[in-house]
Amino acid sequence: MVYFMEQTKLNQLKQTAAQIRLDILEEVHAANSGHPGGSLSITDIITYLYYEEMNVNPADPKWADRDRLVLSKGHTAPALYAVLAEKGYFPREELKKLRQVDSFLQGHPDMKGTPGVDMTTGSLGLGFSAACGMALSAKINEKSYRTYAIIGDGESEEGQIWEAAMFAAHYKLDNICAIFDWNGLQIDGPVAEVMNPTPFDSKLKAFGFHVIMIDGHDFEQIAAAFAEAKTVKGQPTAIIAKTTKGKGVSFMENQVGWHGAAPNDEQYATAVAEIKATM
Protein backbone atom coordinates (compact mmCIF):
# COMPACT_ATOMS: atom_id res chain seq x y z
CA MET A 1 0.00 0.00 0.00
CA VAL A 2 1.41 3.35 -1.03
CA TYR A 3 0.70 6.33 1.13
CA PHE A 4 2.47 9.58 0.70
CA MET A 5 2.87 11.74 3.74
CA GLU A 6 4.02 15.32 3.48
CA GLN A 7 7.61 15.59 4.68
CA THR A 8 6.83 18.32 7.21
CA LYS A 9 4.08 16.27 8.79
CA LEU A 10 6.25 13.18 8.86
CA ASN A 11 9.04 15.10 10.57
CA GLN A 12 6.61 16.55 13.08
CA LEU A 13 5.27 13.11 13.94
CA LYS A 14 8.78 11.76 14.36
CA GLN A 15 9.68 14.65 16.66
CA THR A 16 6.51 14.16 18.70
CA ALA A 17 7.14 10.42 19.00
CA ALA A 18 10.70 11.14 20.14
CA GLN A 19 9.34 13.44 22.81
CA ILE A 20 6.87 10.74 23.91
CA ARG A 21 9.79 8.31 24.17
CA LEU A 22 11.67 10.81 26.35
CA ASP A 23 8.58 11.16 28.53
CA ILE A 24 8.23 7.39 28.89
CA LEU A 25 11.84 7.10 30.00
CA GLU A 26 11.43 10.02 32.38
CA GLU A 27 8.34 8.44 33.94
CA VAL A 28 9.81 4.98 34.38
CA HIS A 29 13.16 6.34 35.60
CA ALA A 30 11.47 8.62 38.14
CA ALA A 31 9.27 5.79 39.37
CA ASN A 32 12.17 3.32 39.29
CA SER A 33 9.43 0.94 38.17
CA GLY A 34 7.22 0.32 35.14
CA HIS A 35 7.23 -1.17 31.67
CA PRO A 36 9.43 0.66 29.14
CA GLY A 37 9.82 -2.08 26.49
CA GLY A 38 6.19 -2.35 25.40
CA SER A 39 5.60 1.37 25.91
CA LEU A 40 8.32 2.15 23.39
CA SER A 41 6.98 -0.42 20.91
CA ILE A 42 3.55 1.27 20.76
CA THR A 43 4.88 4.86 20.85
CA ASP A 44 4.57 5.60 17.13
CA ILE A 45 1.08 4.12 16.89
CA ILE A 46 -0.28 5.85 19.97
CA THR A 47 1.31 9.13 18.87
CA TYR A 48 -0.37 8.88 15.48
CA LEU A 49 -3.70 7.99 17.07
CA TYR A 50 -3.81 11.03 19.35
CA TYR A 51 -2.15 13.54 17.02
CA GLU A 52 -3.69 12.59 13.67
CA GLU A 53 -6.35 9.96 13.87
CA MET A 54 -8.65 10.29 16.84
CA ASN A 55 -11.37 12.88 17.21
CA VAL A 56 -10.78 13.96 20.80
CA ASN A 57 -10.82 17.13 22.87
CA PRO A 58 -8.30 17.33 25.72
CA ALA A 59 -10.34 20.17 27.26
CA ASP A 60 -13.37 17.87 27.44
CA PRO A 61 -12.05 14.36 28.12
CA LYS A 62 -15.54 12.90 28.71
CA TRP A 63 -17.04 14.38 25.53
CA ALA A 64 -19.72 11.82 24.57
CA ASP A 65 -18.91 11.78 20.85
CA ARG A 66 -15.15 11.40 21.17
CA ASP A 67 -13.23 8.53 19.65
CA ARG A 68 -12.13 6.04 22.31
CA LEU A 69 -8.85 4.27 22.95
CA VAL A 70 -8.66 1.22 25.16
CA LEU A 71 -5.11 0.29 26.06
CA SER A 72 -5.85 -3.38 26.55
CA LYS A 73 -2.14 -3.99 27.21
CA GLY A 74 -2.50 -1.69 30.20
CA HIS A 75 1.00 -2.19 31.58
CA THR A 76 2.26 0.14 28.85
CA ALA A 77 0.45 3.01 30.54
CA PRO A 78 3.60 5.19 30.46
CA ALA A 79 3.10 5.62 26.70
CA LEU A 80 -0.57 6.55 27.15
CA TYR A 81 0.20 8.96 30.00
CA ALA A 82 2.96 10.62 27.98
CA VAL A 83 0.74 11.26 25.00
CA LEU A 84 -2.15 12.45 27.21
CA ALA A 85 0.16 14.87 29.02
CA GLU A 86 1.65 16.17 25.77
CA LYS A 87 -1.87 16.67 24.41
CA GLY A 88 -2.76 18.71 27.50
CA TYR A 89 -5.12 16.40 29.36
CA PHE A 90 -3.08 17.06 32.51
CA PRO A 91 0.20 18.84 33.35
CA ARG A 92 3.42 17.24 32.15
CA GLU A 93 4.86 17.53 35.69
CA GLU A 94 2.52 14.74 36.76
CA LEU A 95 4.54 12.29 34.66
CA LYS A 96 7.35 12.40 37.23
CA LYS A 97 4.91 11.01 39.80
CA LEU A 98 4.10 7.78 37.95
CA ARG A 99 3.23 4.97 40.36
CA GLN A 100 3.45 7.19 43.46
CA VAL A 101 0.82 7.21 46.21
CA ASP A 102 0.03 10.89 45.68
CA SER A 103 -0.43 10.59 41.90
CA PHE A 104 -3.38 9.71 39.66
CA LEU A 105 -0.94 7.97 37.32
CA GLN A 106 -1.25 4.45 38.62
CA GLY A 107 0.79 1.52 37.40
CA HIS A 108 -2.06 0.56 35.09
CA PRO A 109 -4.68 2.89 33.54
CA ASP A 110 -7.47 4.03 35.85
CA MET A 111 -10.38 5.75 34.07
CA LYS A 112 -11.74 7.13 37.33
CA GLY A 113 -8.56 8.92 38.27
CA THR A 114 -6.77 9.97 35.10
CA PRO A 115 -8.21 12.54 32.67
CA GLY A 116 -8.31 11.09 29.16
CA VAL A 117 -8.18 7.42 30.10
CA ASP A 118 -11.25 5.83 28.48
CA MET A 119 -11.11 2.44 30.17
CA THR A 120 -9.54 0.91 33.23
CA THR A 121 -7.23 -1.86 32.07
CA GLY A 122 -4.20 -3.80 33.20
CA SER A 123 -5.54 -7.27 33.76
CA LEU A 124 -4.72 -8.67 30.34
CA GLY A 125 -7.45 -9.83 28.01
CA LEU A 126 -10.27 -7.62 29.31
CA GLY A 127 -9.74 -4.37 27.44
CA PHE A 128 -10.57 -5.59 23.94
CA SER A 129 -13.98 -6.76 25.19
CA ALA A 130 -14.63 -3.36 26.80
CA ALA A 131 -13.72 -1.69 23.50
CA CYS A 132 -16.28 -3.95 21.79
CA GLY A 133 -18.86 -2.73 24.31
CA MET A 134 -18.07 0.89 23.42
CA ALA A 135 -18.32 0.12 19.71
CA LEU A 136 -21.60 -1.76 20.16
CA SER A 137 -22.98 1.15 22.17
CA ALA A 138 -22.13 3.50 19.29
CA LYS A 139 -24.17 1.25 16.98
CA ILE A 140 -27.09 1.07 19.44
CA ASN A 141 -27.12 4.81 20.04
CA GLU A 142 -26.33 5.76 16.44
CA LYS A 143 -23.11 7.56 17.30
CA SER A 144 -20.32 7.99 14.80
CA TYR A 145 -17.34 7.76 17.14
CA ARG A 146 -14.72 5.07 16.55
CA THR A 147 -13.09 2.82 19.12
CA TYR A 148 -9.46 1.73 19.05
CA ALA A 149 -7.96 -1.07 21.12
CA ILE A 150 -4.26 -1.78 21.50
CA ILE A 151 -3.62 -5.43 22.29
CA GLY A 152 -0.32 -7.07 23.11
CA ASP A 153 0.95 -10.09 21.20
CA GLY A 154 1.54 -11.91 24.48
CA GLU A 155 -1.84 -10.67 25.69
CA SER A 156 -3.48 -12.48 22.80
CA GLU A 157 -2.71 -15.74 24.58
CA GLU A 158 -5.65 -14.84 26.82
CA GLY A 159 -8.78 -16.67 25.64
CA GLN A 160 -10.99 -13.63 26.22
CA ILE A 161 -9.21 -11.80 23.38
CA TRP A 162 -10.65 -14.37 20.99
CA GLU A 163 -14.06 -14.22 22.64
CA ALA A 164 -13.97 -10.49 21.91
CA ALA A 165 -12.76 -11.11 18.35
CA MET A 166 -15.71 -13.43 17.78
CA PHE A 167 -18.06 -10.81 19.24
CA ALA A 168 -16.68 -7.93 17.14
CA ALA A 169 -17.11 -9.87 13.91
CA HIS A 170 -20.50 -11.32 14.88
CA TYR A 171 -21.95 -7.86 15.51
CA LYS A 172 -20.17 -6.43 12.44
CA LEU A 173 -18.42 -3.77 14.51
CA ASP A 174 -16.83 -1.87 11.63
CA ASN A 175 -16.38 1.06 14.01
CA ILE A 176 -13.70 -0.76 15.99
CA CYS A 177 -10.05 -1.04 15.07
CA ALA A 178 -7.87 -3.47 16.99
CA ILE A 179 -4.14 -2.91 16.87
CA PHE A 180 -2.03 -5.95 17.69
CA ASP A 181 1.37 -4.82 18.91
CA TRP A 182 3.54 -7.66 17.63
CA ASN A 183 6.82 -6.90 19.36
CA GLY A 184 7.63 -10.57 19.75
CA LEU A 185 8.54 -10.62 23.43
CA GLN A 186 6.74 -11.30 26.70
CA ILE A 187 7.92 -11.65 30.28
CA ASP A 188 9.16 -15.22 30.07
CA GLY A 189 10.83 -14.85 26.68
CA PRO A 190 10.03 -14.70 22.97
CA VAL A 191 6.29 -14.96 22.38
CA ALA A 192 6.93 -17.70 19.82
CA GLU A 193 8.64 -19.80 22.48
CA VAL A 194 6.46 -19.09 25.53
CA MET A 195 3.10 -19.83 23.85
CA ASN A 196 2.95 -19.00 20.20
CA PRO A 197 -0.24 -17.07 19.36
CA THR A 198 0.69 -16.58 15.69
CA PRO A 199 -0.22 -16.49 12.87
CA PHE A 200 -2.25 -13.40 13.72
CA ASP A 201 -3.28 -12.57 10.17
CA SER A 202 -4.92 -15.84 9.17
CA LYS A 203 -6.44 -16.32 12.63
CA LEU A 204 -8.04 -12.88 12.62
CA LYS A 205 -9.18 -13.29 9.00
CA ALA A 206 -10.80 -16.56 9.99
CA PHE A 207 -12.54 -14.78 12.86
CA GLY A 208 -13.99 -12.33 10.32
CA PHE A 209 -11.64 -9.36 10.53
CA HIS A 210 -10.31 -7.17 7.79
CA VAL A 211 -6.58 -7.53 8.42
CA ILE A 212 -3.83 -5.04 7.63
CA MET A 213 -0.17 -5.85 8.27
CA ILE A 214 2.20 -2.93 8.83
CA ASP A 215 5.54 -1.88 10.21
CA GLY A 216 4.35 -0.23 13.43
CA HIS A 217 7.16 2.30 13.37
CA ASP A 218 6.55 3.59 9.83
CA PHE A 219 4.20 6.57 9.98
CA GLU A 220 3.22 6.33 6.33
CA GLN A 221 2.14 2.72 6.83
CA ILE A 222 0.40 3.60 10.10
CA ALA A 223 -1.50 6.44 8.41
CA ALA A 224 -2.46 4.26 5.46
CA ALA A 225 -3.71 1.47 7.73
CA PHE A 226 -5.96 3.72 9.80
CA ALA A 227 -7.29 5.39 6.64
CA GLU A 228 -8.07 1.98 5.15
CA ALA A 229 -9.74 0.80 8.38
CA LYS A 230 -12.23 3.64 8.15
CA THR A 231 -13.36 2.53 4.71
CA VAL A 232 -14.15 -1.02 5.82
CA LYS A 233 -17.85 -1.74 6.21
CA GLY A 234 -19.58 -4.67 7.87
CA GLN A 235 -16.57 -6.14 9.63
CA PRO A 236 -14.01 -5.05 12.22
CA THR A 237 -10.44 -4.22 11.30
CA ALA A 238 -7.26 -5.58 12.88
CA ILE A 239 -3.99 -3.82 12.25
CA ILE A 240 -1.14 -6.20 12.95
CA ALA A 241 1.79 -3.95 13.71
CA LYS A 242 5.22 -5.52 13.61
CA THR A 243 7.15 -3.55 16.19
CA THR A 244 10.37 -3.58 18.15
CA LYS A 245 10.16 -3.87 21.90
CA GLY A 246 12.22 -1.05 23.41
CA LYS A 247 12.21 0.83 20.07
CA GLY A 248 14.50 3.86 20.02
CA VAL A 249 16.83 2.86 22.84
CA SER A 250 19.55 0.61 21.44
CA PHE A 251 20.25 -1.37 24.58
CA MET A 252 16.54 -1.96 25.23
CA GLU A 253 15.60 -3.07 21.73
CA ASN A 254 14.52 -6.72 21.50
CA GLN A 255 15.65 -7.40 25.06
CA VAL A 256 13.22 -9.40 27.22
CA GLY A 257 14.70 -7.91 30.38
CA TRP A 258 13.36 -4.44 29.54
CA HIS A 259 9.74 -5.59 29.66
CA GLY A 260 9.27 -4.40 33.20
CA ALA A 261 12.51 -2.84 34.43
CA ALA A 262 13.48 0.80 34.97
CA PRO A 263 16.79 2.23 33.77
CA ASN A 264 19.31 3.36 36.37
CA ASP A 265 20.73 6.90 36.21
CA GLU A 266 23.51 5.99 33.82
CA GLN A 267 21.26 3.96 31.50
CA TYR A 268 18.70 6.76 31.60
CA ALA A 269 21.30 9.34 30.52
CA THR A 270 22.45 7.10 27.67
CA ALA A 271 18.88 6.47 26.51
CA VAL A 272 17.96 10.17 26.61
CA ALA A 273 21.07 11.09 24.66
CA GLU A 274 20.26 8.50 21.99
CA ILE A 275 16.75 9.80 21.50
CA LYS A 276 17.77 13.47 21.61
CA ALA A 277 20.30 12.76 18.88
CA THR A 278 17.39 11.90 16.59
CA MET A 279 15.50 15.13 17.26
Binding site: R68, M119, G122, S137, I140, Q160
Partner: protein, 313 residues
Protein backbone atom coordinates in the same frame (compact mmCIF):
# COMPACT_ATOMS: atom_id res chain seq x y z
CA UNK B 1 -51.62 -20.99 49.67
CA UNK B 2 -49.84 -18.09 48.12
CA UNK B 3 -49.04 -17.96 44.43
CA UNK B 4 -45.67 -19.32 43.38
CA UNK B 5 -43.23 -17.91 40.85
CA UNK B 6 -39.49 -18.31 40.41
CA UNK B 7 -37.54 -15.09 40.88
CA UNK B 8 -35.87 -15.67 37.50
CA UNK B 9 -39.32 -15.52 35.90
CA UNK B 10 -39.99 -12.28 37.72
CA UNK B 11 -36.61 -10.97 36.53
CA UNK B 12 -37.43 -11.64 32.86
CA UNK B 13 -40.91 -10.20 33.26
CA UNK B 14 -39.55 -7.10 34.97
CA UNK B 15 -36.97 -6.47 32.23
CA UNK B 16 -39.73 -6.69 29.64
CA UNK B 17 -42.06 -4.50 31.71
CA UNK B 18 -39.49 -1.81 32.49
CA UNK B 19 -38.15 -1.83 28.94
CA UNK B 20 -41.05 0.47 28.12
CA UNK B 21 -40.24 2.90 30.89
CA UNK B 22 -36.42 2.97 30.93
CA UNK B 23 -33.69 2.88 28.33
CA UNK B 24 -31.34 -0.07 28.87
CA UNK B 25 -29.86 -3.00 26.99
CA UNK B 26 -29.63 -6.67 27.98
CA UNK B 27 -26.82 -9.14 27.33
CA UNK B 28 -26.94 -12.88 27.86
CA UNK B 29 -24.56 -15.76 27.30
CA UNK B 30 -26.67 -18.34 25.49
CA UNK B 31 -29.01 -18.86 28.42
CA UNK B 32 -31.80 -16.41 27.59
CA UNK B 33 -34.41 -19.16 27.67
CA UNK B 34 -33.31 -20.17 31.16
CA UNK B 35 -32.39 -16.80 32.72
CA UNK B 36 -35.66 -15.47 31.24
CA UNK B 37 -33.99 -12.51 29.56
CA UNK B 38 -35.65 -14.13 26.57
CA UNK B 39 -38.87 -12.46 27.72
CA UNK B 40 -37.17 -9.09 27.17
CA UNK B 41 -35.58 -10.27 23.91
CA UNK B 42 -39.00 -11.13 22.49
CA UNK B 43 -40.32 -7.64 23.18
CA UNK B 44 -37.16 -5.61 22.50
CA UNK B 45 -35.02 -7.63 20.07
CA UNK B 46 -33.05 -4.51 19.07
CA UNK B 47 -31.90 -3.99 22.66
CA UNK B 48 -30.91 -7.59 23.34
CA UNK B 49 -27.46 -8.99 22.50
CA UNK B 50 -26.48 -12.60 22.87
CA UNK B 51 -22.79 -12.93 23.63
CA UNK B 52 -22.66 -16.69 23.17
CA UNK B 53 -21.02 -18.97 25.69
CA UNK B 54 -18.32 -16.47 26.61
CA UNK B 55 -19.15 -14.95 29.99
CA UNK B 56 -15.86 -13.14 30.58
CA UNK B 57 -16.26 -11.26 27.31
CA UNK B 58 -19.91 -10.50 28.10
CA UNK B 59 -18.99 -8.90 31.41
CA UNK B 60 -16.24 -6.72 29.94
CA UNK B 61 -18.47 -5.81 26.97
CA UNK B 62 -21.09 -4.71 29.51
CA UNK B 63 -18.44 -2.57 31.19
CA UNK B 64 -17.58 -0.94 27.86
CA UNK B 65 -21.25 -0.21 27.17
CA UNK B 66 -21.61 1.30 30.65
CA UNK B 67 -18.72 3.72 30.04
CA UNK B 68 -20.86 5.34 27.34
CA UNK B 69 -23.70 6.07 29.76
CA UNK B 70 -26.06 3.29 28.69
CA UNK B 71 -27.51 1.12 31.46
CA UNK B 72 -26.80 -2.55 30.79
CA UNK B 73 -27.89 -5.87 32.27
CA UNK B 74 -25.64 -8.91 31.83
CA UNK B 75 -27.11 -12.30 32.59
CA UNK B 76 -26.02 -15.86 33.05
CA UNK B 77 -26.24 -18.52 35.72
CA UNK B 78 -24.66 -17.47 39.02
CA UNK B 79 -21.94 -20.08 38.50
CA UNK B 80 -20.78 -18.53 35.24
CA UNK B 81 -21.44 -14.89 36.13
CA UNK B 82 -19.94 -14.67 39.62
CA UNK B 83 -17.80 -17.78 39.22
CA UNK B 84 -16.35 -17.91 35.71
CA UNK B 85 -16.37 -14.16 35.22
CA UNK B 86 -15.32 -13.14 38.73
CA UNK B 87 -12.15 -11.40 37.64
CA UNK B 88 -13.71 -9.47 34.73
CA UNK B 89 -16.45 -8.38 37.17
CA UNK B 90 -13.82 -7.29 39.67
CA UNK B 91 -11.55 -5.47 37.24
CA UNK B 92 -13.81 -4.30 34.39
CA UNK B 93 -16.89 -3.39 36.45
CA UNK B 94 -16.05 -3.22 40.15
CA UNK B 95 -12.80 -1.28 40.15
CA UNK B 96 -14.02 1.46 37.76
CA UNK B 97 -17.43 1.29 39.53
CA UNK B 98 -19.35 1.03 36.27
CA UNK B 99 -23.10 1.04 36.02
CA UNK B 100 -23.62 -2.62 35.11
CA UNK B 101 -26.43 -4.78 36.52
CA UNK B 102 -25.52 -8.44 36.71
CA UNK B 103 -28.59 -10.67 36.66
CA UNK B 104 -27.42 -14.04 37.97
CA UNK B 105 -30.02 -16.78 37.90
CA UNK B 106 -29.96 -20.44 38.97
CA UNK B 107 -28.20 -19.55 42.21
CA UNK B 108 -27.90 -22.13 44.97
CA UNK B 109 -28.84 -25.80 45.08
CA UNK B 110 -32.40 -25.30 43.78
CA UNK B 111 -30.91 -25.60 40.30
CA UNK B 112 -31.88 -29.21 41.00
CA UNK B 113 -31.20 -31.94 38.46
CA UNK B 114 -28.21 -30.32 36.74
CA UNK B 115 -26.22 -30.88 39.91
CA UNK B 116 -23.05 -29.63 41.53
CA UNK B 117 -21.27 -28.02 38.56
CA UNK B 118 -24.24 -25.69 38.16
CA UNK B 119 -25.22 -25.15 41.78
CA UNK B 120 -23.46 -21.99 42.86
CA UNK B 121 -23.31 -21.67 46.63
CA UNK B 122 -20.36 -19.29 46.56
CA UNK B 123 -21.51 -16.27 44.55
CA UNK B 124 -22.53 -14.02 47.44
CA UNK B 125 -19.17 -14.67 49.09
CA UNK B 126 -17.31 -13.78 45.91
CA UNK B 127 -19.33 -10.65 45.17
CA UNK B 128 -19.15 -9.43 48.76
CA UNK B 129 -15.38 -9.02 48.51
CA UNK B 130 -15.66 -6.54 45.63
CA UNK B 131 -15.57 -2.97 46.93
CA UNK B 132 -18.62 -0.95 45.92
CA UNK B 133 -20.66 -3.95 44.73
CA UNK B 134 -24.32 -3.95 45.75
CA UNK B 135 -25.78 -7.45 46.19
CA UNK B 136 -29.52 -8.12 46.10
CA UNK B 137 -31.05 -11.54 46.74
CA UNK B 138 -34.82 -11.22 46.47
CA UNK B 139 -37.19 -13.43 48.47
CA UNK B 140 -40.05 -13.58 46.00
CA UNK B 141 -41.31 -12.43 42.62
CA UNK B 142 -42.53 -9.07 43.92
CA UNK B 143 -39.19 -8.29 45.49
CA UNK B 144 -37.36 -9.44 42.34
CA UNK B 145 -39.43 -7.07 40.21
CA UNK B 146 -38.87 -4.20 42.61
CA UNK B 147 -35.14 -4.96 42.77
CA UNK B 148 -34.86 -4.73 38.98
CA UNK B 149 -36.44 -1.28 38.94
CA UNK B 150 -34.35 -0.13 41.89
CA UNK B 151 -31.21 -1.38 40.14
CA UNK B 152 -32.08 0.53 36.98
CA UNK B 153 -32.44 3.74 38.97
CA UNK B 154 -29.34 3.07 41.08
CA UNK B 155 -25.98 4.41 39.89
CA UNK B 156 -23.29 1.74 40.25
CA UNK B 157 -22.70 -2.00 39.88
CA UNK B 158 -25.39 -4.34 41.21
CA UNK B 159 -25.30 -8.12 41.48
CA UNK B 160 -28.82 -9.56 41.52
CA UNK B 161 -29.33 -13.18 42.48
CA UNK B 162 -32.33 -15.10 41.23
CA UNK B 163 -33.52 -18.67 41.64
CA UNK B 164 -34.75 -21.33 39.24
CA UNK B 165 -37.31 -22.82 41.62
CA UNK B 166 -40.81 -21.39 42.09
CA UNK B 167 -41.19 -19.77 45.51
CA UNK B 168 -44.29 -18.40 47.26
CA UNK B 169 -45.07 -14.77 46.59
CA UNK B 170 -44.90 -13.01 49.95
CA UNK B 171 -45.41 -9.38 49.02
CA UNK B 172 -48.12 -7.42 47.27
CA UNK B 173 -46.80 -5.75 44.13
CA UNK B 174 -48.99 -2.68 44.61
CA UNK B 175 -48.05 -1.93 48.19
CA UNK B 176 -44.53 -3.32 48.64
CA UNK B 177 -41.95 -0.64 49.25
CA UNK B 178 -38.49 -1.84 48.27
CA UNK B 179 -35.42 0.11 49.26
CA UNK B 180 -31.87 -1.05 48.49
CA UNK B 181 -30.01 -1.63 51.76
CA UNK B 182 -33.10 -1.78 53.97
CA UNK B 183 -34.00 -4.99 55.78
CA UNK B 184 -37.66 -5.88 56.18
CA UNK B 185 -39.11 -7.11 59.46
CA UNK B 186 -41.60 -9.84 58.56
CA UNK B 187 -42.53 -11.03 62.06
CA UNK B 188 -41.87 -9.40 65.41
CA UNK B 189 -40.46 -11.40 68.30
CA UNK B 190 -38.33 -11.10 71.42
CA UNK B 191 -36.54 -14.42 72.12
CA UNK B 192 -34.53 -14.95 68.93
CA UNK B 193 -34.21 -13.41 65.47
CA UNK B 194 -34.16 -15.35 62.22
CA UNK B 195 -32.34 -13.32 59.59
CA UNK B 196 -33.12 -14.86 56.21
CA UNK B 197 -32.59 -14.09 52.57
CA UNK B 198 -34.04 -15.29 49.28
CA UNK B 199 -35.81 -18.62 49.24
CA UNK B 200 -35.30 -19.07 52.98
CA UNK B 201 -37.50 -16.14 53.95
CA UNK B 202 -40.79 -18.00 53.62
CA UNK B 203 -39.31 -20.92 55.58
CA UNK B 204 -38.19 -18.51 58.29
CA UNK B 205 -41.75 -17.23 58.61
CA UNK B 206 -42.99 -20.83 58.93
CA UNK B 207 -40.26 -21.53 61.49
CA UNK B 208 -41.44 -18.58 63.58
CA UNK B 209 -44.94 -20.13 63.64
CA UNK B 210 -43.55 -23.50 64.79
CA UNK B 211 -41.46 -21.77 67.45
CA UNK B 212 -44.50 -19.81 68.62
CA UNK B 213 -46.30 -23.12 69.21
CA UNK B 214 -43.37 -24.06 71.45
CA UNK B 215 -43.66 -20.81 73.36
CA UNK B 216 -40.72 -19.11 71.66
CA UNK B 217 -41.19 -15.64 70.23
CA UNK B 218 -39.08 -15.37 67.07
CA UNK B 219 -38.51 -12.23 65.05
CA UNK B 220 -38.02 -12.67 61.30
CA UNK B 221 -36.01 -10.25 59.20
CA UNK B 222 -35.75 -10.43 55.42
CA UNK B 223 -32.38 -9.19 54.20
CA UNK B 224 -32.74 -8.72 50.44
CA UNK B 225 -29.69 -6.49 50.19
CA UNK B 226 -26.70 -8.43 51.44
CA UNK B 227 -24.34 -5.58 50.63
CA UNK B 228 -24.49 -2.93 51.90
CA UNK B 229 -26.19 -4.77 54.74
CA UNK B 230 -28.72 -3.09 57.03
CA UNK B 231 -26.58 -2.91 60.18
CA UNK B 232 -29.22 -1.04 62.11
CA UNK B 233 -31.99 -3.64 61.88
CA UNK B 234 -29.53 -6.45 62.72
CA UNK B 235 -27.97 -4.71 65.72
CA UNK B 236 -31.40 -3.79 67.03
CA UNK B 237 -32.46 -7.43 66.72
CA UNK B 238 -29.28 -8.60 68.44
CA UNK B 239 -29.84 -6.20 71.33
CA UNK B 240 -33.55 -6.92 71.70
CA UNK B 241 -33.65 -10.70 71.14
CA UNK B 242 -30.14 -11.74 72.23
CA UNK B 243 -29.71 -14.57 69.70
CA UNK B 244 -29.65 -14.84 65.92
CA UNK B 245 -30.10 -17.55 63.32
CA UNK B 246 -29.20 -16.82 59.72
CA UNK B 247 -30.77 -18.73 56.83
CA UNK B 248 -29.60 -18.70 53.23
CA UNK B 249 -29.44 -20.90 50.16
CA UNK B 250 -25.67 -20.38 49.94
CA UNK B 251 -22.55 -21.59 51.67
CA UNK B 252 -22.43 -20.71 55.35
CA UNK B 253 -18.98 -19.34 54.49
CA UNK B 254 -18.93 -15.81 53.15
CA UNK B 255 -22.63 -15.20 52.61
CA UNK B 256 -25.44 -13.81 54.74
CA UNK B 257 -24.33 -15.78 57.81
CA UNK B 258 -20.86 -14.30 57.60
CA UNK B 259 -22.14 -10.79 56.91
CA UNK B 260 -24.52 -10.90 59.89
CA UNK B 261 -21.82 -12.40 62.14
CA UNK B 262 -19.45 -9.58 61.22
CA UNK B 263 -22.03 -6.96 62.11
CA UNK B 264 -23.05 -8.68 65.35
CA UNK B 265 -19.50 -9.46 66.51
CA UNK B 266 -18.42 -5.87 66.06
CA UNK B 267 -21.57 -4.15 67.22
CA UNK B 268 -23.48 -6.29 69.72
CA UNK B 269 -22.00 -9.74 70.35
CA UNK B 270 -24.71 -12.40 70.79
CA UNK B 271 -24.82 -16.03 69.59
CA UNK B 272 -25.23 -16.43 65.81
CA UNK B 273 -26.02 -19.86 64.36
CA UNK B 274 -25.99 -20.32 60.61
CA UNK B 275 -28.32 -22.32 58.39
CA UNK B 276 -26.95 -22.80 54.89
CA UNK B 277 -24.94 -25.16 52.74
CA UNK B 278 -22.29 -26.45 55.11
CA UNK B 279 -19.08 -26.26 53.09
CA UNK B 280 -20.21 -28.84 50.55
CA UNK B 281 -20.90 -29.15 46.85
CA UNK B 282 -24.39 -29.64 45.54
CA UNK B 283 -25.92 -32.77 44.04
CA UNK B 284 -28.42 -33.67 41.35
CA UNK B 285 -31.97 -34.21 42.43
CA UNK B 286 -35.44 -32.82 42.74
CA UNK B 287 -35.55 -29.65 44.75
CA UNK B 288 -37.58 -30.82 47.80
CA UNK B 289 -35.23 -33.72 48.69
CA UNK B 290 -32.22 -31.49 47.97
CA UNK B 291 -33.49 -28.89 50.43
CA UNK B 292 -33.87 -31.69 53.00
CA UNK B 293 -30.41 -33.07 52.24
CA UNK B 294 -28.73 -29.70 52.78
CA UNK B 295 -30.78 -28.70 55.80
CA UNK B 296 -32.48 -25.80 54.07
CA UNK B 297 -35.76 -26.47 55.86
CA UNK B 298 -38.17 -24.94 58.32
CA UNK B 299 -37.32 -27.75 60.75
CA UNK B 300 -33.60 -26.97 60.65
CA UNK B 301 -34.24 -23.27 61.20
CA UNK B 302 -36.36 -24.19 64.23
CA UNK B 303 -33.63 -26.49 65.58
CA UNK B 304 -30.93 -23.85 65.04
CA UNK B 305 -33.10 -21.20 66.67
CA UNK B 306 -33.38 -23.36 69.77
CA UNK B 307 -29.61 -23.95 69.64
CA UNK B 308 -28.98 -20.21 69.44
CA UNK B 309 -31.25 -19.57 72.41
CA UNK B 310 -29.40 -22.27 74.38
CA UNK B 311 -26.15 -20.41 73.72
CA UNK B 312 -27.45 -17.23 75.36
CA UNK B 313 -25.57 -16.41 78.55
Amino acid sequence: MAEKLATREAYGNALAEFGDKYDFVVLDADLAAATKTGTFKKKFPERFFDCGIAEGNMISVAAGIATTGTVVFASSFAMFAAGRAFEPIRNSIGYPHLNVKIGATHAGITVGEDGATHQCNEDIALMRTIPGMTIINPADATEARAAVEAAIKFQGPVYMRFGRFAVPTLFDKDTYNFEIGKGVQMVDGKDVTIVATGLMVHMAIDAAKVLAERGISARVINIHTIKPIDREIILKAAAETGAIVTAEEHSIIGGLGSAVSEVVCEGCPVPVVRVGVEDQYGHSGKVPPLLEMYGLTTENIVAKAEAAIALKK
